[in-house]
């Protein structure tokens, strides 16, 4: 079968022929039973493919999509669990920091020493005992 006519035949089904090509194809179709059979086969093939179309994903598709959209909106609106936890505990953290600051200022005001142990209310004598004790002795005391 003429290769050019086969190509024209395939393209004709997509409406893509010039007037001249259309005329040539029509003449070839009139003169060739084989080309006419080929056209029937192509038309049947395209009809079979079109009829395989599926129009639904199954039941409750719309509801499933809406559920996903709501989840997506929550995520985008963006409060994750950790974010919500941080927000809930923010006042507690601020109150704690203020309490520590008040304690530090109060301890330093009472003490005649300005040092880290003094800021936390540890006397100089106690901190010296802690700092000067040999580690082995402390460990032995623990065992």
């Amino acid at each position: 079968m003429n290769k050019r006519m086969m190509s024209l035949l395939a393209r004709s089904l997509d409406g893509d022929l010039t007037a001249e090509e259309r005329g040539a194809l029509d003449a070839a179709l009139a003169g060739s039973a084989e080309l006419r059979r080929e056209k029937e086969r192509l038309v049947a093939l395209r009809a079979a493919v079109a009829s395989s179309r599926k129009d639904s994903f199954g039941p409750f598709f719309q509801a499933k999509v809406m559920e996903r959209v709501r989840h997506d909106r929550l995520d985008a609106g963006g409060e994750t669990f950790l974010g919500a936890l941080a927000r809930a505990f923010r006042p507690v953290a601020v109150a704690g920091a203020v309490a520590v600051a008040v304690l530090v200022v109060s301890n330093l005001a009472k003490s005649d020493d300005i040092s880290v142990p003094a800021a936390f209310g540890i006397s100089r004598a106690a901190s010296q005992v802690i700092m000067e004790s040999p580690v082995e002795a402390v460990l032995e005391g623990l065992s």
């Binding site: 190509s7 395939a10 393209r11 997509d14 409406g15 893509d16 059979r37 080929e38 029937e40 086969r41 192509l42 049947a44 093939l45 395209r46 079979a48 493919v49 079109a50 009829s51 395989s52 179309r53 599926k54 129009d55 639904s56 994903f57 199954g58 598709f61 719309q62 499933k64 999509v65 809406m66 996903r68 959209v69 709501r70 997506d72 985008a76």
Partner: protein, 181 residues
């Protein structure tokens, strides 16, 4: 309500309007996604994702393309991504390609229901690009110009891929469509 009305209402937070968009376009999206992937569990996930992506991009949807064309473009792109993922999974787990392990039904023995299965299986044997053209042109019914626009290729490319795909489908489905004699 027109598509534009529904989009505007959905943007204002009207869930029912967006639900109507889903109801209205499920058939078009299903045709595209299931044409590309076949009737498989991933198809519904991809279909849902198409509408979630639409929802996220509603604000930037300007109506230059119709909503149907816009959704089809998302559906084709997500389906092609899913096909790539399948290929990666097959490579990773050294699975045989679909063509080798999916037996086509016997065309001669097919009744009406089997006929659909046979055609679907034959479409799945096409390469991804040819399959996209067949789905958009022959199943979704887009014109060759629209198909070219959705895929971002020239019309000539659409026509040549379509011709190649038809030749392959013709060979597989010959017993079904008859030899014309």
């Amino acid at each position: 309500m027109t598509d534009g009305d529904l989009v505007r209402a959905a943007l204002e937070g009207d869930d029912e309007a967006f639900g109507e968009i889903v109801r209205r376009y499920e058939p078009a999206v299903a045709a595209t996604v299931m044409g590309m992937l076949g009737d498989c569990p991933e198809a519904e996930d991809v279909g849902q994702e198409v509408f979630v992506r639409l929802y996220r991009s509603l604000a930037s949807f300007r109506g230059e393309a119709s909503l149907r064309t816009y959704l089809t473009r998302i559906a084709i792109n997500l389906s092609l991504n899913e096909l790539k993922r399948r290929k990666r999974r097959r490579l990773l787990f050294s699975m045989k390609p679909v063509e080798e392990h999916r037996n086509l039904p016997d065309p001669a023995a097919s009744d009406r229901i089997g006929e659909e299965d046979l055609v679907t299986a034959a479409i799945q044997k096409l390469d991804d690009k040819s399959r996209a053209v067949v789905v958009l042109r022959l199943i979704d019914g887009h014109s060759t110009g629209e198909t070219a626009g959705i895929l971002g290729v020239p019309v000539g490319t659409v026509l040549s891929r379509l011709a190649r795909a038809q030749q392959k489908l013709r060979k597989i489905l010959l017993p079904l469509i008859g030899d014309g004699r």
